[in-house]
Symmetry: C2
Subunit: 301 residues, 2 copies
């Protein structure tokens, strides 16, 4: 499909793209640009064919596809370096979790507008690093590709084909819809999980009681979400802050109403909320967004 | 250990006690009092030896141990009926998730005070019904037993031995501590999960967009918690409302602070919250309150 692919930033996501690309023979040569020495030595073990770039230099002009899978806070700097060497022959995509910011970055440069097709694979977990990568990470998962009239159709097709080869299901979306939708289905849940763990920590301190050991009744699930990579999530919170603040406000409004219903022991309205929730779970399972097994099929020890 | 055990209410928890008791030969005879015909026919399939009571009558006076595992909103009514037949020779425990309310109920009656030793096994999942019961549900899980000076020591020992036979690790606690601790580690997480799903439903309605299909990025985990039994959780929210309202208030206070940090892009304080969360996850895994595998080891399809 390609002669040369460059993966910039090779952690959980980058190394999963790397593994998938090797497995599906997506490119003749695969290059990696990665700063962490520890990560480089882990990546070397994956396959001897992997080539490494030490810096962003003239060699990047030979890349048919450049995939940014670093933290988003590094994009600005990376794009500056890439722009010195790339031309309209190159093609760029990324894997960042917010898209309006990436679009804004691209729109600053005419060359970039045609060749940078942002994407967002909905895949990952609470762990980071190339040692956790998996060639099937994107299999049967959504990958959002940004649509835009200013993009080359040929390039859009290439990016679509690339993610399909890795197993993804494709949706084209604009950046505004993307950032709104994922502020509710992903960013708010993470923020809420962090906030819940923070609340538990505060309770422990204030009451001088160890409560973490009783977390199997609910808190443990949130603690998994709240163990996600802090740089990645700081970047998301900052880059999508307007939508996230809106979501927080709706959440707080709902929570205050819920509190009142509990205070007044409003039986029918409380039951209505709890029953409606259950229906959503069924939809999520029917849409194959989660396993149907009780307790995620989680088997302790 | 016992000659006759009666399990009152035989859903997920009751049938797990039933299965564990059969497997560990805890009692010569095991009786079940269950109202749902569907449940009775499911329970009959577990073992032919199981005996059924059609009503709470004089036969309960022969029970060495009576375990209440109905919804807590049925306790009042059940206890009234039990009091007509039981004496100081009987022993009662329960499995309810809040304990101050149970203690209040017990304290109304001198007879009950000596023979009712409330307990709370920290086990369960989002599904309900005897078909999901498991003899190992309580294995290596905490079981809280209420301490109280007015209880017979002999009876306390019996309840402790009973849960240990089912595999539980025992902690004695007073009802005030219990209800405070679990308002944070269990009740608030459930309420927050319900509230998050409610917020997503509201967003769908308002924006006329289907977002549930993108729930793999976080929402799906909360939807599992928010698919729990609605009667059980209504009871918990109402019975522990003072502590839960306190917890909600702390949660909202923290969330507002978090929102401000994001608004101001306060890098160091946001990173501090995210990093501290990660430490709690490690503690939870070290304390064997959750599996260590990424994504709960959840394997899709």
């Amino acid at each position: 499909m390609f002669s040369n692919i460059l993966i910039v930033g090779c952690g959980l996501i980058g190394s999963s793209i790397l593994r998938g690309s090797l497995s599906k023979k997506i490119s003749k040569n695969i290059y990696v640009f990665e700063k962490s020495k520890k990560n480089i030595s882990l990546i070397k073990k994956i396959d001897k064919k992997i080539k490494f770039l030490n810096k962003i230099d003239h060699k990047v002009s030979n890349m048919d596809l450049i995939v940014l899978s670093t933290h988003m806070s590094q994009y600005n700097n990376l794009i500056k370096k890439l722009l010195r060497h790339i031309s309209s022959k190159n093609l760029i995509t990324d894997t960042g979790s917010t898209k309006r910011n990436v679009e804004n970055l691209i729109n600053k440069n005419k060359k970039l507008k045609k060749i940078f097709i942002p994407s967002h694979p909905i895949a990952g977990s609470e762990v980071s690093g190339p040692e956790f990568g998996d060639k099937n990470l994107f299999k049967d998962k959504w990958c959002i590709i940004l649509k835009g009239n200013d993009k080359s159709k040929k390039n859009q097709k290439k990016i679509e084909k690339f993610w399909k080869k890795l197993g993804s299901k494709i949706i084209f979306m604009n950046s505004i819809d993307h950032d709104k939708i994922f502020s509710i289905t992903s960013h708010l849940p993470h923020l809420i999980a962090y906030n819940l763990v923070k609340t538990a920590i505060d309770f422990q301190k204030k009451n001088k009681k160890s409560i973490i050991k009783y977390s199997a009744g609910g808190l443990r699930d949130f603690s998994r979400t709240a163990a996600s990579n802090e740089i990645m999530w700081r970047d998301i919170f900052f880059e999508n802050k307007d939508n996230i603040i809106d979501s927080i406000n709706i959440f707080i409004r709902n929570l205050k109403k819920f509190k009142k219903l509990i205070k007044n022991q409003n039986n029918s309205n409380v039951l209505k909320i709890l029953k409606n929730s259950k229906k959503i779970r069924k939809q999520i399972i029917n849409l194959k967004q989660d396993v149907s097994k009780p307790n995620f099929g989680r088997d302790l020890f």
